[in-house]
C-alpha cells in the first residue's frame, strides 16, 4: 500500500484524528495524527490485513522548539513491505499522548525514553519511569529550552 492509500484509509476511519501530513516530495511520507488517538490508529494499522504494520521500527520524541513537542512513529510491515511515518504533535504545556505499548511491546522502552528526555507523558503506559537518566534527575534534557543544572545531589555537574 502506498502512503496515500494508508492516509485515505485512516481519514475514512478516523476522520479528523488525521490532521494532515506530507505524502510526496519527502524521503519518508508522513501522516499527522491527533496524539490522543495514537493508540487506536496504531492498533488499526497493525491489525488491518491491508496495512499489517507488525513492527514499530522507531518511536522518537522531538522538540520542535517554541513549546511544540512531537512523537514520531516509524512503522513497518514485514509482510506487506511498506513503511509509514506517523507524527503526533502536542504542546509542551500539555504533553500527553496515548501510549502504544499495548500495540507493540517495542514502544515500552522507547516511550520511557521519550518521557525521560522530553517529558512527554504517555497515557496508558504501564511503567512510565525514567530509563536513561537517574530517577531523581530534574528536567528533561533533550528539550530545546533545557539548561544543565549546576548541581546534582550536591555534585557539580559541568565538572
Amino acid at each position: 500500500m502506498t502512503a496515500q492509500n494508508i492516509s485515505d484509509m485512516l481519514r475514512a476511519r478516523f476522520g479528523d484524528a488525521v490532521t494532515g501530513g506530507k505524502l510526496e516530495g519527502v524521503p519518508d511520507p508522513w501522516i499527522a495524527i491527533a496524539p490522543a488517538r495514537a493508540r487506536e490508529i496504531c492498533a488499526v494499522l497493525r491489525d488491518d490485513p491491508s496495512t499489517a504494520c507488525d513492527v514499530l521500527m522507531c518511536l522518537s520524541g522531538v522538540d520542535y522548539g517554541g513549546g511544540k513537542l512531537g512523537v514520531v512513529y516509524h512503522l513497518d510491515s514485514t509482510t506487506q513491505r511498506h513503511r509509514i511515518v506517523l507524527k503526533a504533535e502536542m504542546t509542551a504545556a500539555d504533553p500527553h499522548v496515548a501510549s502504544v505499548e499495548s500495540v507493540w511491546k517495542t514502544a515500552n522502552w522507547h516511550e520511557r525514553e521519550a518521557y525521560d528526555m522530553y517529558g512527554i507523558v504517555f497515557d496508558g503506559h504501564p511503567d512510565l519511569r525514567r530509563i536513561l537518566m537517574p530517577d531523581d534527575w530534574e528536567g528533561f534534557p533533550l528539550r530545546k529550552d533545557y539548561r544543565v543544572p549546576e548541581f546534582y545531589n550536591g555534585m557539580k555537574v559541568p565538572y
Binding site: 519527502v26 524521503p27 519518508d28 497493525r46 491489525d47 490485513p49 507488525d54 513492527v55 514499530l56 521500527m57 522507531c58 522518537s60 520524541g61 522531538v62 522538540d63 514520531v72 516509524h74 514485514t78 513491505r81 511515518v85 507493540w104 511491546k105 517495542t106 515500552n108 522502552w109 522507547h110 528526555m117 525514567r130 530509563i131 536513561l132 537518566m133 537517574p134 534534557p141 533533550l142
Partner: protein, 394 residues
Amino acid sequence: MEEMMTQPPAAPQAPTTVPGFGRALKTEEMVISMGPQHPSTHGVLRLELVVDGEVVVDVIPHIGYLHRCFEKHCEHMTNYQQVIPYADRMDYVAAMSNEFGFVVAAEKLLKIKVPERVEYIRVIMAEFSRIVSHLIAIGTYGMDIGAFTPFLYCMRDRERVLDIFEETCGARLLYNYMWIGGLSHDVQANFAGKVKDFCRYFRPQIKELNDLLSYNKIFIKRTANVGVLPADVALNYGVSGPVLRGSGVQWDLRKNDPYSVYDRLDFEIPVGKGLKGTVGDCWDRYMVRVHEMEQSVNIIEQAVEKLPAGDVAAAIPKRIRPEAGDVYVRTETPKGELGYYIVSDGTASPFRIKVKSPCFVNLSALPAMSRGAMIADIVAILGSIDIVLGEVDR
C-alpha cells in the same frame, strides 16, 4: 499470526513456591542485584533478579549507567561530520557498521550519490565489522557459559581484522572511516590480497570453533531450549538481527530492504531452525551468528572481486547543509536494525538525531525470555542477545 499478534502471549510464569514444600515451609523470594558490576552483564547493566532459590521469577533491567548523551551531543555539533566519531562510540565493537548507518542516512538527507568504489569498500568494511562483532559475541558467550578458551581464539582472529582496519584507516577500534559522501582514505595497495588471505585463514577457524564450542554437548545442554523467544513475540517486541533470525524469521535488511550494493551480492540469510531444541532458543541465536560469519566471508570475497576503480573522495560535499526535513534510515548492523532518525532544520548542525539502537530493543525483550529460567540461564540468555551497553545507553 494475526490473532496471536493482538494479544502478545504472556511469558510462562514460574511457580513462586517449590512444589511439595510450599505448604509445609514458608518460602520467600530473594531479590538479587546482578550488576552494574558483574562479569556477565557485558558492561554496566543492572538486572534486578527476583529469585526463588535458583529459579528466576522476574527480571527487571535497569539501564542508563553508560548514558553519554549521544543525542544531546549531536544537536550541539557544528556539522554533521562531527557526529561520526560519536556514532563510532555507540556500538564500539562494530564501529564501522554504526558509521555506515549514519552516512547512509545523511546521504539520503543530502541526496548524494556516492561512487561505486566507496559503496563496495563500505560493504567490505561493514561485513568485516560484522565478523568482528560476532567473534566478540561468540567468544564472550562461551565465557558466559564457562568456556574460556574459545574467547581467546575469537580475540586472536579478531585481531587480524583489526590489523586490516588499522592499515586502512589508522585506528583499530573507533575508525571515523566512512564519511558523508565518501571515505577518509582509499584502501591501501595490497588490500585485496590481505582480505583474501584473511578469508582463506578464517574459514577453518570457524570449523575449529564449532568443534570446540558449538557442538559440545555441555554447551548444547546449556543453551538449547533455554530462553525461547517465539517469532510472534519477537516481532511484537521489535527485536532484530540475530535475535529475530534465531526465532526463525527470515528478516535481514540487507535482503529485505537493500541499501548500498547488497542487492548485487549473493549471500544467504541464516535463520534458527531449532536443530538442538526449540526454534528461538539461545543455541539458535548463537548459531545464526556463526553462520552469518561464514556468509560475511562470502560477501567480502565477492565484493573484493567486484571492487571497481574510482575516487573515494569525489562525492564528499564541501559544505554539509541539508535542507529542512527528516529521514529515517535503517541498516543491518551485527546486532540488528540500527535506525537513524535525522531531523534537519536547514542549518549545518543537526536539529535532532534519534538512534534506534538494536541492543536497546533486544534487551527490552529479556524479561519475556527469562521468566522461569535459572540464574545460570539468565547469563546464557543475556549473552545470546549480545548487547553492547554503549549502544543500549548511547
